[in-house]
């Protein structure tokens, strides 16, 4: 049985005269591997910002697990299980990966207001951190300063932080963007190994990753949904081909 976990109804975002998001409807199924693609400037990141509450929508409604979350601030959407990663790493520079994850896991488990305990005192939190470090191949670097990590490791930490929030819906904003070839495979494997019960919306430029990973694809052009379907349907869609292979290529480099 399919169940919708995240739904956008007629989302519109205007910045002055520019319509960055144009009546977007989007449904994410439970356990989905849903990709959102589109040329540069198609409004993918704006859509993510609307979904996560960084930007207020001009019009429209967002539902998470059947509840309207359109008016909730970002941190409350996270508490309900809607978590994102960032296209440009957003890490905590002064902390080590271990400290970062210990902080995030504590916060997620409602210990974030505990001022009388020490960070690391709770054995269950530490055990969860060790799991995450192993899953994201960060165990060897867990004591190093985040700012000094190689780019690929920082990218992994970016995703580990999001998974530490125990998401029901995970929005991955270009997880492999800018990762050098040598570190890419590690990252792709961790994306593929994300827990099956986490529904994923993947925003990505990398078509290999999209077609390998996604079971459903939505194509966004000029802020509006051009089409949506299975990878086979999208791969053979003439409109999509036109956007990506025809004049779309110019847009891509614009």
């Amino acid at each position: 049985m399919s169940q919708v976990v995240l739904q956008a109804h007629g989302l519109v975002k205007r910045f002055g005269g520019i319509t960055a998001t144009d009546h977007v409807n989007l449904s994410l199924q439970l356990g989905a591997r849903h990709a959102l693609i589109g040329p540069n400037g198609a409004g993918k990141t704006t859509l993510i910002n609307l979904l996560t509450g960084v930007l207020p929508p001009t019009e429209g409604r967002i539902e998470l697990l059947g509840q309207d979350i359109s008016q909730l601030p970002s941190h409350e959407r996270v508490a309900r299980g809607l978590v994102r990663t960032f296209q440009i790493n957003q890490l905590f520079a002064s902390m080590t990966p271990l400290q970062t994850l210990a902080m995030v896991v504590s916060q997620r488990r409602g210990l974030g207001a505990r001022w009388w305990q020490r960070l690391g005192q709770d054995a269950a939190v530490v055990a969860r951190c060790e799991e995450l470090l192993a899953l994201f191949r960060l165990t060897e670097v867990m004591h190093q300063n985040t700012a000094a990590l190689p780019y690929g490791k920082r990218r992994l930490l970016e995703m580990a932080i999001a998974l530490a929030c125990e998401p029901k819906v995970l929005l991955l904003d270009e997880p492999v963007a800018g990762v050098p070839a040598g570190e890419r495979e590690e990252l792709l494997q961790t994306v593929a190994a994300l827990p099956a019960d986490v529904s994923v919306l993947l925003i990505e430029h990398d078509m290999d990753l999209v077609f390998e990973f996604a079971d459903r694809i939505t194509v966004l052009v000029n802020g509006a949904v051009l089409t949506e379907g299975t990878p086979e349907v999208i791969a053979n869609d003439p409109q999509v081909k036109a956007v990506y292979l025809g004049h779309g290529e110019e847009l891509h480099h614009a």
Partner: protein, 320 residues
Amino acid sequence: MMDARSQLLSGAGWRWYEPLLWAAVFALPALLPGHALIVNEIAIVALFAVSLDLVLGYTGIVTLGHAAFLGFGAYCAALFAKFIHPDPLLGLAVGVAAATVLGAVCSVTILRGSDLTRLMVTQGVALLLLELANKLDWLTGGSDGLQGVMMGPLLGRFEFDLYGQTAAWYSLTVLLLLFALARRWVQSPWGATLMAVRDNPLRAAAIGISVPSRLAVVYTLAAGVAGAAGALLAQTSGFASLDVFALERSADAVLMLVIGGVGWMYGGVLGAVVFKLMHDIISGITPQYWTFWMGLFLVVLMLVGRERLSPVRWFKRGQA
């Protein structure tokens, strides 16, 4: 390699030399009774700097008006002693409570805006209070200061003496207790979320931390600690004057943190010791031009780097 848990806990807790250090400091008023007054002064400004470190060092709230809470605590404690009850501990509680309430009210002003906005707003609040204390002279004594504050004996037994020994021990005790409390705060999961807010507020919100509530709570708590420093100041000097609200007070505390290092609990204490001793020694030699040497010291400190100048830099590593 250390396992995750012991690594997380390794920065926390007291090291073996810390109790010795504090014991030595507590012995100072007895060993050098002639210097008890300066020990008292240093303990008070150290407490104020620790309070500032909570907001500036750990949470990244830029402020040049922290003296608002120091001054409010000072005046409230002094007024309480003069008109209601001379007991020092009651007065201390009143000073802390008053500054905490003021901190909670003022925390609304620092939730929004950039560093520059906060710099101006915090300074504005301190100026407002300064002028209020100046204008309400029927209550505060105006520019003459609030005089005739007579303190009762501490715990009903220890009179404040002229040499300032009781005062020094009283201030050191309050400093130690609040220092230990503040240290526990910053080493807790809650403290880690403060640093997350400081490092990256965007991501902090994206992992479910309510950034405004963290800012408001830490600002309020730090205001209470600053209020304690203010109460100690008024009680041990028997006097409260307008300069407790002055911009210089706030700026000096920032300088102390810069000297001792921000985001490190001993930074405020160390900075206060260095700053006050330099002030005392240099102004003893050249009373009019001591700020010249202070300025020179700051420039050298910033350009050469604290790490390279510090003789105990290896002790600092890994501590909170």
